[in-house]
Amino acid sequence: MVALAETEASSLRIQQVSKSFPAPEDPLTRRPALSNISFSVAAGELVSLIGPSGCGKSTLLRLLAGLDFADAGELLIGSEPISDPSAERGLVFQDPNLFPWLTVRRNIQAGLVARGVLREKREEVNEFMRLVGLGSFANAYPHHLSGGMAQRVALARALINHPKVLLLDEPLGALDAFTRMRMQDEVLRLWQARRTTMLLVTHDIDEAIYMSDHIMIMTPRPGRIDRTISVALDRPRQRSSPDFLRLRGDILEFIHFAGNASTENKS
């Protein structure tokens, strides 16, 4: 993993990153959210981050997006340090956050408009609308879309900039189980077609196993990466194959949900 990361421009490398926030009840003390995190994602890999809520997954993603700054440590994309938000690192949230005042088409082309390249790349808008299967909804406003469709638009909007890395912050978390499974295939299809490096934050273990090359398990207070598991299953993966289930059991074991419940569950 590390060897690849040094050569490829769309790899991610995070070295000893820490981040703390002011405690809500006492602004003078700072509470660590991430502590000494190091990992790397090779170009073209799909890596998942799983862990209970409050373990700093989203904070980490915001740092990678450039929306927040780390207190210490280094975040690199290829060999460039990450300092500001950039179109080369797309971000999709759990809430699709479509601009409600723009139609589907205008939402998708927002990135092109923002970078001032709409005129040259107008063709691509149609291509991306087809890619996510929304051609007939070009002129609909976001509130006419179902959750799954809205999230597709959000994906297309992020992908139209051809980002080197796509950061996914529980993008399917708000969808119902059936839509979610279909969208997992959808994201995988986009990933396989484009080979964009993806970092997926999720709290769904099945989703992580189904989709990723590696799974990083985070623990809270302060957020740390407990361990990294490589998923060696062939694609397309079977959600009910014995290997899949065994891996699922292992991961549950790791995060103490299988046998003795975690501290969070007890309370």
């Binding site: 915001r62 997006a65 450039g66 929306l67 500001d84 938000p85 950039s86 179109a87 690192r89 797309g90 971000l91 949230f93 809430d95 956050n97 601009f99 409600p100 005042w101 723009l102 927002a110 990135g111 408009v113 923002a114 970078r115 291509e127 087809r130 890619l131 996510v132 299967g133 929304l134 051609g135 007939s136 909804f137 002129n139 609909a140 406003y141 509130h143 006419h144 879309l145 179902s146 799954g148 469709m149 909007r157 992020a158 900039n161 839509t179 279909r182 959808e186 299809r189 077609a193």
Partner: protein
């Protein structure tokens, strides 16, 4: 792309209402909601006949009471009712063949009936039993006569008011949008600008009249300035709060799409603030009416405000009421126009909020 068909075929895509919904629903906003049950069904007799019956009733009351007044004074009023009667009967005959007219009538008949009956009640109170002191409360016939007799001057006054109002309002809106956007977006501007806004803004614009008269060369200019000031405050306040309350996640998303400051302000923050901005525009419009009328009745020598105080000076209260009727029509038309603009601009909100 290869799987395109498979994707569009999934049930999740076909579930929500098609967007065409949006454009067709826009033409008849509230009548649809009330009468969605049977839009094409027949009008009931009661609805059809309400307006002519009310007109007959009001006319009868008027003819009964107006015997002691010279007929020339009430001629146009009786004529008006004959016209209403005639038009309503023609419409009642025409409506079976014209669906949109029927829908309109079903919606409007009750309110027209009520308005006509109200005129009748006014007639009874003033002309009939003379319960209100004259000359301060003339009957509807006298008001209508003033309206018709003095139409040239009233039209001229309305025109002057319109010009003054629109110039002041436009100026105030432009200034308010600029200052509101600056205060809403930039922290240093907010630090220095907000106190000024909070201290100076709440002073009613009319309180500046004595000062404005001294400072400005002409009454018209100072009146336009005062109207602009009255509009500026709510527009600035609401624009600033709209801009600064832009959902942070919209800005985050835009930044990860490669947006610079211009995009963030003009394509994210301002569109997000538009609902708020319109509230400011409505409040500003109300404030501008008030300031217009006060400024006109004090300094400016033209316009509806001036007309009212001039007519009052001659104790011609029929004309005062006539000017009030014109003002009601004039101001409510402007309000309606602003509503139409809002409906057009905020079409994306349809279905998100109740309107």
């Amino acid at each position: 792309m290869l799987q395109g068909e498979e994707v569009t075929g999934c049930p999740e895509v076909s579930r929500p209402a098609p967007p065409s919904h949006l454009t067709s629903g826009q033409t008849q906003p509230e009548s649809d909601a009330i009468h969605a049950v049977a839009p094409a069904s027949k009008l009931r007799w009661r609805t059809q006949l309400a307006v002519p019956i009310a007109a007959l009733l009001a006319l009868g009351v008027h003819l009964l009471f107006s015997k002691r007044v010279p007929p020339v004074e009430t001629h146009s009023y009786t004529l008006l009712f004959w016209e209403i009667l005639g038009v309503s009967i023609v419409l009642a005959i025409a409506q079976p063949f014209w669906t949109s007219l029927r829908r309109w009538m079903r919606h409007m008949c009750p309110i027209f009936t009520a308005a006509i009956l109200l005129l009748g009640v006014w007639d009874v109170i003033t002309l009939g039993f003379q319960l209100l002191p004259l000359p301060y409360f003339p009957g509807p016939a006298a008001v209508l006569r003033s309206l018709i007799n003095d139409r040239a001057l009233l039209l001229d006054s309305t025109w002057h008011s319109l010009v003054l109002l629109l110039s002041g309002y436009t100026l105030g809106v432009i200034a308010g949008l600029i200052s509101g956007i600056c205060i809403g977006w930039s922290t240093p501007v907010r630090y220095w600008g907000m106190p000024v806004l909070k201290v100076v803004g709440p002073i009613p614009a009319t309180a500046w009249i004595p000062l404005a008269m001294v400072v400005s060369p002409s009454a018209i200019v100072s009146a336009a300035g005062l109207i602009a000031l009255a509009v500026w405050f709510p527009v600035t306040m609401l624009t600033a709060s709209g801009i600064s309350n832009t959902r942070a996640s919209y800005l985050d998303v835009a930044r990860t799409l490669g947006a610079g400051r211009g995009y963030l302000i003009f394509r994210v923050a301002i569109p997000a603030a538009i609902p708020n901005i319109f509230i400011g525009l409505f409040m500003g419009l109300g404030a501008s009416f008030l300031t217009l009328v006060v400024a006109e009745s004090i300094g400016v020598k033209s316009g509806l405000g001036w007309y009212v105080s001039w007519a009052q000076g001659w104790a011609e209260y029929g004309k005062v009421f006539a000017a009030l009727v014109i003002m009601a029509a004039f101001f409510s038309t402007l309000m309606t126009l602003l509503f139409k603009v809002r409906d057009r601009v905020l079409v994306w909100q349809k279905g998100v909020i109740k309107w």
